[in-house]
């Protein structure tokens, strides 16, 4: 004996399942639409080359604003000294993307200060030596590490002439969404790539520098601030003898 069909129950079930399907699928559809609308849908092109000019005459001795800003922006300050590690040893093992270096000219004794970080070479030795290709250079000139394929061999750190890279020696408990990080991988300055890819035009260190010592921008655009400054002042590359054609230049060392 068959039961009569309950038409109302059927209608309810149909509406309910339709609504459930819409709830499940819609965010994907909408988010997809948002993603497509953003500039990130096109591949990075070499019509841009990001670079920096650092005016060392403006870099104030003892000021570490750029260092703290970088630490905050990239979550380096979220890493805590492991329990039981000595202060000095931890200081040599903690990651640093930018640092201040004070130099004395051997002949004249003149003292200058400057920030050092990844120089974003056109021909980066770290990229040449990386066995898996995790260390790579984007078409827009940014040199960075793919944390998914880095095996932690540290050959790039051996090869970098600027001591610009850091190895994550400890467990990572907290990290910013924009800067993925994992124990046992290598990382370094990436010109705040998360900002640039989301429409930003400045780096954290540049924003933090009260003295205006850091100018950042597109080296290929003759009207960018960095190109204009480079055209106006004499500048140099650090270890120019290696012919790496660095993206970071300095004046008045």
């Amino acid at each position: 004996m068959s039961q009569p069909i309950d038409k109302q129950r059927r209608a309810f079930l149909a509406t309910a399942s339709g609504a459930a399907a819409a709830t499940a699928v819609a965010p994907g559809v909408f988010l997809h639409a948002v993603a497509e609308a953003a500039p990130r849908d096109s591949a990075v092109s070499d019509s841009v080359r990001y670079g920096m000019l650092i005016d060392t005459s403006k870099c104030a001795e003892g000021c570490t604003d750029c260092v703290s800003a970088c630490d905050r922006e990239n979550g380096l300050d979220m890493l805590l000294k492991p329990e039981g590690a000595s202060d000095q040893h931890w200081d040599m093992q903690r990651p640093r993307w930018i640092r201040q270096v004070k130099l004395k000219n051997n002949l004249t004794g003149r003292v200058t200060a400057l920030p050092m970080m990844c120089q974003h070479c056109e021909h980066p030795p770290c990229v040449d030596v990386c066995p898996t290709g995790a260390s790579f250079r984007r078409a827009d000139g940014i040199v960075m590490v793919d944390r998914h394929t880095c095996i932690g061999c540290r050959y790039c750190m051996m090869a970098c002439p600027y001591n610009a890279r850091s190895f994550i020696h400890e467990s990572v408990r907290l990290k910013p969404t924009a800067t993925p990080r994992g124990k046992g991988c290598v990382e370094s300055c990436n010109f705040c790539v998360h900002r640039l890819d989301n429409g930003g035009t400045t780096t954290a260190c540049q924003d933090a520098c009260q003295h205006g010592a850091i100018v950042f921008g597109d080296l290929r655009d003759p009207n960018s601030a960095v190109s204009k400054a480079l055209a106006q002042y004499p500048s140099e590359q650090i270890r120019a003898d290696l012919k790496l054609n660095t993206g970071v230049r300095y004046t008045d060392i």
Partner: protein, 406 residues
């Protein structure tokens, strides 16, 4: 030469198992050290962002270099047709494999992400000498395995010469690759030198021969197999010549460096002011690793004594570890010359303030991992010679040279 017979290693069971137990315990310690380092992260080691390769790399590179050198004895037999070396070839091929595996395991276990070895095996950047080395190492293992098969399977004997030539050429390329890991680094003063590759080849000859001689004398001694003076004399003379060749390369490397002013600071660091590195260089690399062993090996009386030869071979091994320590760690401790013409007077990240060296002190887990690699290589060698016929029943003078049998 009379027909050579091979037999499994016949050391009495209690000694055999005792030996394996000791080696297995050292391997286990290395394993625990690895788990500790991987669980905690590398902060528990002496390695830092300035000295990024530490003690494990010293052991790993030593073993890899020695592995290609251990194959020499077999090459002399099958490539250069020296009949006397033929019976020595199987052990030589075996040790080439076990030492390489021991070294590679140490290298892999020190990675920040050892579990991603599969990435290293599937994703390549062919401009990287490391990526080439992955092929060179795996290829070497495969070729030497086939080489051993052609030696041990009578039907395949006729291919032995051809495969032996391939293995010989391959091992030359392999050690060139290992030496080039350093030779290609332009950033560091002590490394950027083409002489690194040939120097590593000659080092491999000596270190491989030293380890081979030690294992040969030990296995024959414990088994009471006859080992004639002729074989030992030939091998120890070769060892002496190889050590003399390292001496020559060391001399040329430092003399050419001293000629160029840009390298003066580096040379002063290694040869005079480098503290522990200077000590390890003069005491370990030069005196104990080259001068004393050469004195023993070429001495008319001492050079004929097995005990003295054993000491000389052990010293060559010690000298090898010292040499690689100076190259790998001394080369990193010396601050990079980032600003020629300037002195760094302050730095937020250890850029060699006033030319000061970067600090590194080896930690226990690193050392245990390295030692575990050596123990693993020996363990695998001893298991293999016990199970398969690697060792000839006799290397008495009248067996290896029939002229003496009369």
């Amino acid at each position: 030469m009379s027909k050579i017979h091979y037999r499994e290693w016949g050391i009495e069971s209690p000694r055999y198992w005792g030996l394996l137990a000791v080696l297995a315990a050292i391997v286990a310690l290395g394993g625990f050290a690895t788990l500790y380092m991987e669980h905690e992260g590398h902060w528990v080691t002496g390695m830092t962002n300035q000295v990024v390769w530490g003690t494990p790399h010293v052991f790993a590179i030593f073993l890899i270099v020695a592995a290609s050198g251990a194959l020499n004895v077999a090459s002399i037999g099958s490539v250069f047709g020296q009949k006397m070396y033929k019976p020595l070839a199987r052990l030589s091929g075996l040790m080439a494999i076990t030492l390489l595996v021991g070294g590679l395991i140490v290298l892999v276990l020190d990675l920040g992400q050892p579990a991603r070895l599969i990435v290293a095996m599937t994703t390549y950047n062919f401009k990287s000498i490391f990526a080439w080395n992955i092929y060179l190492y795996v290829g070497f293992l495969a070729i030497v395995a086939v080489y051993l098969f052609t030696m041990m399977e009578r039907k395949a004997n006729r291919y032995s010469h051809g495969v032996g030539v391939l293995a010989f050429v391959w091992r030359l390329i392999l050690t060139t690759g290992t030496g080039s890991i350093f030779g290609f680094i332009v950033a560091r003063q002590g490394y950027d030198a083409a002489i690194m590759a040939p120097m590593f080849i000659i080092m491999s000859f000596a270190y491989g021969m030293a380890l081979y001689l030690l294992v040969l004398m030990f296995t024959f001694n414990t088994d009471e197999r006859p080992l004639g003076d002729m074989v030992v004399r030939r091998l120890k003379n070769l060892l002496g010549v190889f050590v003399a060749a390292i001496f020559y390369f060391t001399l040329v490397y430092h003399l050419t460096n001293l000629y160029g002013t840009e390298n003066h600071a580096y040379e002063a660091f290694i040869l005079r002011d480098g503290g522990v590195y200077t000590w390890v260089f003069w005491l370990g690399w030069v005196l104990l690793g080259m001068v004393v062993p050469m004195g023993i090996l070429f001495h008319p009386a001492l050079g004929a004594q097995r005990g003295a030869i054993t000491i000389a071979a052990l010293l060559v091994v010690l000298g090898g570890l010292s040499a690689i320590y100076v190259i790998v760690i001394g080369g990193q401790a010396f601050p990079m010359s980032m600003f020629p013409g300037y002195t760094v007077i302050e730095s937020g990240y250890y850029d060699g303030v006033d030319g000061m060296a970067r600090a590194y002190s080896p930690s226990l887990p690193e050392f245990l991992l390295g030692l575990g690699g050596i123990a693993l290589a020996l363990l695998a060698t001893f298991v293999a010679v016990r199970l398969l016929q690697f060792l000839p029943t006799s290397l008495a003078d009248e067996v290896v040279d029939p002229h003496l049998a009369k």
